[in-house]
Symmetry: C2
Subunit: 355 residues, 2 copies
C-alpha cells in the first residue's frame, strides 16, 4: 500500500471497525473528515515500517472517550492538528510521520485526516493490532516507551499536557480529563522513533484494514471471507436478545446476549465489553477472551457491529481472531488479559468454532 486515496477511506474504516472488536468509536464522522481532507489535499503517502528511517519521529494521533458519546459529540476537525502542534512544541522537534495508535473505528481514520492536512506520511501499522480501551494498553508500553508527553485537546480548544511516571498514570489522568471534557477528546502521545517501530507497532495493519474492508464490501459471503482473511473462527451466528450498556467512568461498559440461529440454534453467547468486546462465553464457557479479537459482524452484510450500535434483534456473526503474538506473552497478558479489565478469568486461547 503506497498511499491512501479517497476511495480507500471507506474500506479502511470498515475493516478497522471490524478489527476494532466493537470499539474504537463509530468511524462515520471520522471517515467524513478524512474523506474531506483527502479530497482537499490529495492522497496520503503510506510508508512501510521497514522503510521508515531510524531517527524518524512517529506520532500517533487518536481520539479518546466513550463511543456512546462519540456518536453524538462530534469532533471539530481541528483538534488533531492542534494536538500535534502542541506536542511538537513540548518535544522541541517536528513529527516526520503519523500513525494510528489502534486499528479501530474512528482511530484508524483520524490519522488519515491529520496526515492529509499536515502533509505528513502515514506509517502502515498501529500500536495494538486491534483496539483496546485504555491508553497504556499498547505495545510501546511493553518495550518501555512512555505514553507521555501526551497532549489532550477538547472541542472547546482546551489543551492539556501530561507527563507521568508510568503509562498507567497517563491513562488515569487522561481518562479523568476526558470524562470532564464530556467523554470525547483527541490526543497525541506515545511518540516512537523510527528504530522502535518494529517492536512498538503491528506491521501492515492499515493495509490489512483496507483489504478486509474491501473484501467484506465485495465478497459473496462476507462473513466467511472475513474469517478466512483473518484466520478467525466463527463462534456463533445468532440474534442479539439483550444489550445492557452504561457509560461509566468514561467508558461504554456492558454485556450483550446472543441466541444462536441456524446451525447454532440452542446455543447461547454472552459478550462482555468495555468499549471493546473482551470476553465471549458460549453456554457459560469462555471461548474467546482479550487480547484475542472478538469481532461482531452483521450476519448478512459482514458490516461491523459496534458495541454502542448493537441492538436487540441484530443478526450477527461472532468471530474469534488471534491477536498479535506479543500480547499473549506473560507481560502482554498482564497488560491486556481478562484480569487487566477486572474479569476473574485467565486468558484462554480461542476455543472451538469453525474455520
Amino acid at each position: 500500500m503506497r498511499e491512501v486515496r479517497l476511495s480507500d477511506v471507506d474500506d479502511i474504516a470498515r475493516g478497522a471497525a471490524i478489527l476494532g472488536t466493537g470499539g474504537g468509536g463509530d468511524p462515520y464522522v471520522g471517515k467524513l473528515l478524512a474523506e474531506a481532507a483527502v479530497e482537499k489535499h490529495g492522497p496520503v503517502p503510506v510508508v512501510n515500517i521497514a522503510d521508515v528511517p531510524p531517527d524518524a519521529v512517529v506520532v500517533p494521533i487518536s481520539s479518546m472517550g466513550a463511543p456512546t458519546v462519540g456518536t453524538e459529540k462530534l469532533p471539530s476537525g481541528r483538534e488533531a492538528v492542534t494536538a500535534l502542534r502542541a506536542l511538537e512544541r513540548v518535544m522541541g522537534t517536528r513529527a516526520t510521520h503519523l500513525v494510528p495508535i489502534e486499528i479501530g473505528g474512528v482511530n484508524s481514520v483520524i490519522p488519515i485526516a491529520a496526515a492529509a492536512e499536515t502533509g505528513l506520511p502515514l506509517v502502515d501499522g498501529d500500536a495494538m493490532g486491534r483496539a483496546f480501551p485504555e491508553a497504556h494498553m499498547v505495545l510501546p508500553t511493553l518495550i518501555g516507551v512512555s505514553c507521555t508527553p501526551m497532549v489532550i485537546v477538547d472541542d472547546k480548544g482546551n489543551t492539556m499536557v501530561l507527563d507521568t511516571v508510568t503509562n498507567q498514570y497517563a491513562e488515569r489522568f487522561a481518562r479523568a480529563v476526558c470524562t470532564e471534557a464530556g467523554c470525547s477528546v483527541v490526543t497525541a502521545d506515545t511518540v516512537l522513533i523510527g528504530k522502535q517501530l518494529r517492536d512498538g507497532l503491528v506491521d501492515g495493519t492499515l493495509s490489512l484494514a483496507r483489504k478486509l474492508g474491501r473484501t467484506v464490501r465485495l465478497a459473496d459471503e462476507p462473513v466467511a471471507s472475513a474469517a478466512a482473511l483473518l484466520d478467525g473462527r466463527l463462534l456463533i451466528t445468532g440474534k442479539v436478545t439483550d444489550v445492557d450498556r452504561a457509560t461509566t467512568g468514561g467508558f461504554a461498559r456492558g454485556q450483550a446476549r446472543i441466541e444462536g440461529i441456524g446451525a447454532y440454534r440452542g446455543v447461547r453467547m454472552r459478550l462482555s465489553f468495555q468499549n471493546e468486546h473482551l470476553l465471549a462465553e458460549r453456554d457459560g464457557e469462555v471461548v474467546t477472551s482479550t487480547p484475542d479479537l472478538i469481532c461482531v459482524l452483521d450476519n448478512e452484510t459482514g458490516e461491523p457491529v459496534t458495541t454502542e450500535g448493537m441492538r436487540y434483534g441484530n443478526r450477527v456473526a461472532v468471530l474469534g481472531v488471534p491477536c498479535d503474538s506479543r500480547w499473549t506473552t506473560p507481560e502482554g497478558l498482564r497488560l491486556t488479559g481478562p484480569r487487566a479489565f477486572g474479569y476473574d478469568h485467565d486468558y484462554v486461547p480461542i476455543t472451538g468454532g469453525t474455520k
Copy 2:
C-alpha cells in the same frame, strides 16, 4: 514586613487559617515544611506590591484539594519547586517573585517554603484576600488574567500542564486531575506581571496574617482582639452541635450547626461550607455570606477552627469580616457570591452582630 523569619511562620499560618474562613487546608504540615526550609536557607525576603518592578514575573504556588484529605495525604515537599520549574519551562522565562494565591491555611505557608528553597522573594499579598475553594475565584480573573498555563504536580511525580480557554475550564480540569490524584496536588498558575499586581492582588495580606496570628497568640481576649483587628462583627458564640461533612467532587462539603451560649443562649446558627465557610444563617436568616469572610475561632484561645477540624462540642466564636471591596462588585459577586456555589441566595452584607 521585610522578611519572613523562622519565628514568623507559626503566626502567619495561624492568621492565614483564620482569614482562610475554615478552608485552605490545615496548615500544620505546610508549616513544618516552611519552618524547615527557612531554618535551612534563612529568612525569606518580602517585597511590598508598590516595590515590585512592572516587568516582574510573579508566580503563585498553592495546593489544591479537599482539606479533609490534606490532613492525611502529606505533600513530599518537592512538589512546589517541581511545579515552579515546569511552569518556567512552559513560559520560557524565570519567575522573579512568588506569592500566595490565597491567604488561607496551607496555601499561605507553601509559598514560604518554596521561596526559601528557590531564593526568590515573596510578595506581600494574595489573589483573594481570603480563601476560596475554586481556582478561578481570584482577582486576576476579574482583570482578564488567565489561570493558565497551570502546572499541576502530584506526590508521585506526575506533572500536567493545562492551557484552557477560560479560567472556569482551568478549575474544572484541574479539579478532575486533582480528584484522580487522590484530592491533593500542588499547582503553579495564574502568573502576574509586576504592573498587574495592584489590580490582581490584595495588598499586605501576608503582614496582616502575621499580625493577626501574633495578636491571637498574645492577646488577653483573643477573639475580641481578632475582631477589632479585622473590623469584624461577632455573630455568635456557641457550641457545635452537629457537623455534616462529605468529601465529594474533590471538595469537603457540608454544614455545621451551632447553639448559642452565654449572651447568645437560644440563638442557633447554621454554617454551610465547601472547603471554606460560605453561608452563616442565624435563626434561619442569612447574616453573612460569601464573599465576606466567615471566620470560626476557638472561643477561648482564638485559634482557627477549620471546616475539616470542626467537631461536636467545640466552643466557637463566629466572626463576619468584610471582604476586599472588589468582590462585592457585580462582576465579583458573579464569581464568588452565594449563587456561584449553588446557594439560592443573593449576597447580603454582614447583618447584625457586635463590634
